[in-house]
Every structure is written in structure tokens, then in C-alpha cells.
């Protein structure tokens, strides 16, 4: 017989210990702190204006209506255009896709070259590139306007793509360089003995091993570029404003009645893309890291 005071086997654990109550209590409070605004936004976006005017911010909608969502997406007016956020959404998609692809492709090649093909002046080059990450954007705004104007890209979608690609370069290159540096050098040497060149090693050895870091880079770029407001408002014209700029124009319009439900719906719609990216690739991301952790 094993009496309680004689330690043997698994150590007994108390579910409701004081520590656990403190821990989970804190977690619940913090979770509510973050979830509450989201809750308010969702319920408000599902109410009609009369119901909102009654002022019960936290109460669920009595009569659920999707009209604010429809209006935010396809009817809300910004300036002379009255086709809602859909225009901004497609603009953002057209800006996002080339920016993400270009910046990731270029940065990964940069990082690969810096990590594995040490050329003369590589360190200086890298230092200058990293310094770029510390320069405030505001300093560069006007010079870039001039550069884009001279290149004939000012006010165009591709101009903004170029800006996003360039500004993503320092941090992404750092990310890729560090990741490729962590891949055993002997693998690279073995590939050289096997007769693979610069591109052969990049595409057939390094790329297949680097899915996790590509996912990380993609998350960074998608959220960063999608949420960008500053570059969007400066380097584009109203017809090709990205979604964030359009959202601002809808929410901050000073004419007419403030349609809180439409504003909430528009904000939720704009935030949907980064949210989806987190939910979808977050899982892939964790799986990628786990796969990479196994030595092989």
C-alpha cells in the first residue's frame, strides 16, 4: 500500500491551486480586454442606425442586418466614387501581390548571396542595407516623390510596388541571411562538389529547406503592406488608393450622418486579410518550424 506521504510515481497536482487561479484569472481578464472592442465592432456593424442611437453599445443587436456590410463594401462614397471599399480592396490586392513576391524573391537571393557567397565588400554592403532599416520613413518621403517622378512612376500602382519592395529589403534580407547562415555550411560545400552553381544551389538545395522562413517573410510583408497607409496616400492617385486609405476616407468623412455601423463593417472588412493570413499561415508556420527543428 502506498500512503499519501510516501512519494512514489507521478507527483499529484492540484487543479485549483492559488497559482492557477491567479494565472487563469489574469489570462481571462487580458483576453477580455482585447476581445471586447472586437465584440463591440461586430455587434455595432450588425445593428441598424436607429438601434445604435439608443446607445446600448454592449447589447447584442435586436434585429440583425447585413445592410451596413453591403454598404461598406459596395455603396459607401469616398470623394466622387460611390462603389464602396471594393475598389480599395482590389487596388490593395494589385499592390500587395507584386510587392510581396518581388520583395521576397529579391531579399531571399540577397540573403543567400550574403550568407553563402561571401564576396569582397559583403560586410559593408550588408551594414549599409541594415542601416536602411533605422532611417525614419518620413525623411525619405519627398526624395522618393522626386525619384518616382523622374522614373515616370509617380501616382502609379507600380511606383507604390517599387516603394514597398525597397522598404521591405533591409529587414527581409536580414531575415533570410540569418536563416541561410544557420543552414550547415557543409551542405553548401557538398552541393558545390556535386557541381551545382549559384542558382542550382539556391533553387534545389536552399529553397526547399526554407519554407518556414518564406512563410514568416510572407506574413511580415502581407500585413505590413496591407496595413500601410502613409505610402499609399502619398504615392498613388484617388482611383488607385489602397483599402486603408479608402477606409480612412470613409470613416473620417465630415459630411452627413456618421454611420457607425458602416464604419465598423468597413474596418472589419479591411482587417480581414491580415487576420486570414494569420489564421491560415500561422498553422503552416508552426508546422514549418517543427519540421525544420528535426535535424536531417
Amino acid at each position: 500500500m502506498v500512503d499519501a506521504a510516501h512519494p512514489r510515481g507521478p507527483k499529484p497536482r492540484r487543479r485549483l491551486s492559488r497559482g492557477n487561479i491567479m494565472l487563469y484569472g489574469t489570462l481571462i481578464v487580458v483576453a477580455m480586454y482585447y476581445a471586447l472592442p472586437l465584440y463591440v465592432m461586430i455587434v455595432t456593424s450588425l445593428k441598424g442606425m436607429p438601434e445604435i442611437r439608443m446607445g446600448n453599445v454592449f447589447s447584442p443587436p435586436v434585429e440583425i442586418t447585413f445592410q451596413p456590410w453591403v454598404k461598406a463594401w459596395s455603396e459607401a462614397c469616398t470623394g466622387i466614387n460611390c462603389d464602396g471599399l471594393s475598389r480599395g480592396f482590389w487596388n490593395s490586392v494589385q499592390i500587395l501581390i507584386p510587392s510581396v513576391f518581388l520583395s521576397i524573391i529579391i531579399a531571399s537571393i540577397n540573403g543567400y548571396a550574403l550568407a553563402n557567397w561571401r564576396f569582397k565588400g559583403a560586410d559593408v554592403f550588408f551594414t549599409i542595407l541594415i542601416l536602411g532599416a533605422f532611417i525614419p520613413y518620413q525623411v525619405m518621403l519627398y526624395p522618393i516623390v522626386i525619384i518616382l517622378r523622374e522614373m515616370g512612376l509617380y501616382g502609379s500602382l507600380w511606383g507604390l510596388v517599387l516603394v514597398h519592395t525597397v522598404f521591405g529589403m533591409p529587414i527581409l534580407t536580414l531575415l533570410f541571411r540569418n536563416y541561410f547562415s544557420a543552414i550547415p555550411e557543409e551542405l553548401f560545400k557538398a552541393a558545390r562538389v556535386d557541381g551545382a552553381g549559384f542558382w542550382g544551389i539556391y533553387f534545389r538545395i536552399m529553397l526547399p529547406m526554407s519554407l518556414p522562413i518564406f512563410v514568416v517573410a510572407m506574413i511580415l510583408q502581407v500585413t505590413g503592406i496591407w496595413n500601410d497607409f502613409l505610402f499609399g496616400v502619398i504615392y498613388t492617385r484617388p482611383e488607385i488608393y489602397p483599402m486603408t486609405v479608402q477606409l480612412n476616407n470613409i470613416v473620417n468623412s465630415v459630411q452627413g450622418v456618421k454611420e457607425y455601423n458602416v464604419n465598423m463593417a468597413a474596418t472589419l472588412l479591411t482587417g480581414l486579410v491580415p487576420l486570414t493570413i494569420y489564421f491560415v499561415s500561422g498553422k503552416l508556420f508552426v508546422r514549418g518550424i517543427a519540421a525544420g527543428a528535426v535535424k536531417g
Binding site: 557543409e186 560545400k189 558545390r192 562538389v193 556535386d194 557541381g195 536531417g296
Partner: protein, 357 residues
């Protein structure tokens, strides 16, 4: 015929000289081991031969061709790395054939070569697996196979067994020896493990500070080390050293007078300050010690039984002395026994230059 020729090879990283005007001539079919402590430049030398590092000065010839500026894949070498360096996303067959596919070899030729290498290394059942699903020994076999399929004249091994556990290391060591016996390729093998060096090598090059100290057969290096460093580096347990002076036909250390006996000096015998080195296994004990040129009774301080043999520690002339005895020898610490040795089996080194006398 010369297979690999290294001529005046110098490599500098900035102000640091890693290899200093190094010369080696490796005949065809030889198994050469580069042995040295970490940081001695042995792996660097191998990387230079492979073409993975650009040399600062000098030439490298493989099969009578100057390959100093050639790409690694053009040099007719295969290389095996310590960390196996298998491509993790490819199957074993993919790993083996990667180099051949890069060389745009016909498919049936690739298949034939992969099959042959797999048969030689007995990895046929593993061909469809990924490296992650292999054990350490299997991975290293695949890595050897990757060099094998390229059908090259020179194999380069960079500490291939260092990541394996002791038992596997011994098994694969024999296999590499068997492989060399069957293929008769030139092999250059870098290691810091002297057992691997002694068992595998036709010749060993002992390196220190980017310079080859001694390049000779294992027997010669073991019995007639060229300097004090080599004597101390080779042999486990380590060689015993006494500091003293050669006076006439005796070596005097502290109160100890050791007759030189039949020791073969390199040149004429001179009275100089010297160190005397004698290997623990060349010291006899008990009755066997009685008739040797030098014998003395000592007190055993510590005994380390290792099964096959027993290592006993004592002090002689103020220096710690290791004695390797039979595993069955009944010695206990505190007992007094008679030990003796023949100085002709030892080595004398000049105290100043540390060169063999």
C-alpha cells in the same frame, strides 16, 4: 604515379597564416591521413584540395592536371563531410544522383551507378527514404555513396566518423578500410582521432600551426617521432617525458641515471639538455623488468583498470609516470613493484629545438 600534388600551398585569412608553404606528394592509391589538434589547418588543407577555398599562393595538381583554379566539381574528387551534409528534402537515391544530374548524365547511366554504389555500401533498402529517416551510420554511408557514384579518383574525408558513437565509429572505420582495399582510390582523410589515423593510414601527416610536422608511415611515426610534439600527440595513454641531460653514455634526470644503451642517435651523440620520452606500453613490470637496461622499484599511486589493460600511475624523478600493464595484472595503489625499460625503445629530443636526437 602522383595522384595529388600540393606545391608551396599558402593560405592566409587577412594577417593570419593558416597554411604555410605546404608541400605534399600523394602517390596513386595511397590512404593519407591528415592528423592534428583542432585549428592546425588540416580541414583547411582538405578544403583547398577540394577547391572550396581559394588559395593565397601555391598550386594543387590532381592526376597531373593543375586544378588550382578549377571548380570543385571539375577536380575529379568526391568529398564526405563530418555532418554528412545530405540534402534533407531529397531521398537517398536523389542524394546519390544529385551530382550526376548536375553533370547531365544519361538517366540509365545514373541508375546503374546509383545501384552499384548502393550495393557496395549495402544501402539498397534505404534508397527511397529521406535522410531524416536514417540512423547516423546509415547517413554516413549515403554520404560516402555520394562520393562513390561520381566515380572519381580521389576521395576526401573531412572527419567523417566524428559524429558517430564509439561502436559505430569502429564499425565504419573498418568499412572505410575495406572500401579502400577494394577500390584502391587515393584517399585523403582528415581526423583528430589518432586511432583512426593509425588504423587507416598508409601514411600520416601530423600537422601543427599550418605546417606538416612529420609525414610518414604509422609505425615510423609511433616509434620514431621526429619531434617532441609528434611524440606527445601520438599514443594513448600519452608518452612519459623526463627532462634532463645527456652526459656521456647516460641520461641524467634528477637523481636518475638511465644508460643510453643501444639507442640509435640521428647524428653523433652530444652532451646536451634533452627530454626523454618513453611510451607507457614500453615499460615492463615485475620479473620482465629485471633484465632490462634500466630498472627501479616504484610505489604505485593510482590504478586505472580498463579491462584489456591496466594503467598504473607512479612518480619517477619527480615526473608522473604512466605504466601500461596487462589487464590481469594484480596491482593495487600503494604497492611497490619493480619497473624497467629499454631506452632504445624510447626517444630523445633536444631540449631547445625539441627535435629528435
Amino acid at each position: 604515379m602522383t595522384s595529388v600534388l600540393v606545391k608551396d600551398l599558402t593560405l592566409k585569412f587577412g594577417a593570419l597564416t593558416v597554411l604555410d608553404t605546404l608541400n605534399i606528394d600523394i602517390p596513386e592509391g595511397e590512404f593519407l591521413v591528415l592528423l592534428g589538434a583542432s585549428g592546425c589547418g588540416k580541414s583547411t588543407l582538405l578544403n583547398c584540395i577540394a577547391g572550396l577555398l581559394d588559395v593565397t599562393d601555391g598550386e594543387i595538381h590532381i592526376n597531373d592536371q593543375n586544378v588550382t583554379w578549377a571548380e570543385p566539381s571539375e577536380r575529379g574528387i568526391g568529398m564526405v563531410f563530418q555532418s554528412y551534409a545530405l540534402y534533407p528534402q531529397m531521398t537517398v537515391a536523389g542524394n546519390l544522383s544529385f551530382g550526376l544530374r548536375n553533370a547531365r548524365m544519361p538517366k540509365d547511366e545514373i541508375a546503374a551507378r546509383v545501384a552499384r554504389a548502393a550495393e557496395v555500401l549495402q544501402i539498397e533498402p534505404l534508397l527511397d527514404r529521406k535522410p531524416a529517416a536514417l540512423s547516423g551510420g546509415q547517413r554516413q554511408r549515403v554520404a560516402i555513396g555520394r562520393a562513390l557514384v561520381r566515380d572519381v579518383d580521389v576521395f576526401l574525408f573531412d572527419e567523417p566518423l566524428s559524429n558517430l558513437d564509439a561502436k559505430l565509429r569502429a564499425d565504419l572505420r573498418v568499412e572505410i578500410k575495406r572500401l579502400h582495399h577494394n577500390l584502391k582510390n587515393t584517399m585523403i582523410y582528415v581526423t583528430h582521432d589518432q586511432v583512426e589515423a593509425m588504423t587507416l593510414a598508409d601514411r600520416i601527416a601530423i600537422m601543427k600551426g599550418g605546417v606538416i610536422q612529420q609525414l610518414d608511415t604509422p609505425t615510423e611515426i609511433y616509434n620514431r617521432p621526429i619531434n617532441k610534439y609528434v611524440a606527445g600527440f601520438i599514443g594513448s595513454p600519452e608518452i612519459n617525458f623526463f627532462e634532463g641531460r645527456i652526459e656521456g653514455d647516460h641520461f641524467v634526470a634528477d637523481d636518475l641515471h638511465i644508460p643510453l644503451g643501444a639507442y640509435a642517435f640521428q647524428g653523433a651523440r652530444r652532451d646536451v639538455m634533452a627530454s626523454f620520452g618513453i611510451r607507457p606500453e614500453h615499460i615492463q613490470s615485475g620479473d620482465m623488468a629485471r633484465d632490462l637496461p634500466f630498472s627501479q622499484e616504484v610505489e604505485i599511486e593510482i590504478v586505472e583498470p580498463m579491462g584489456s589493460d591496466t594503467l598504473a600511475w607512479t612518480t619517477l624523478a619527480g615526473c608522473p609516470l604512466r605504466i601500461r600493464m596487462d589487464g590481469q595484472a594484480a596491482v593495487a595503489s600503494g604497492t611497490r613493484i619493480l619497473i624497467g625499460f629499454d631506452p632504445a625503445r624510447g626517444s630523445f629530443f633536444d631540449a631547445a629545438s625539441e627535435l629528435r636526437l
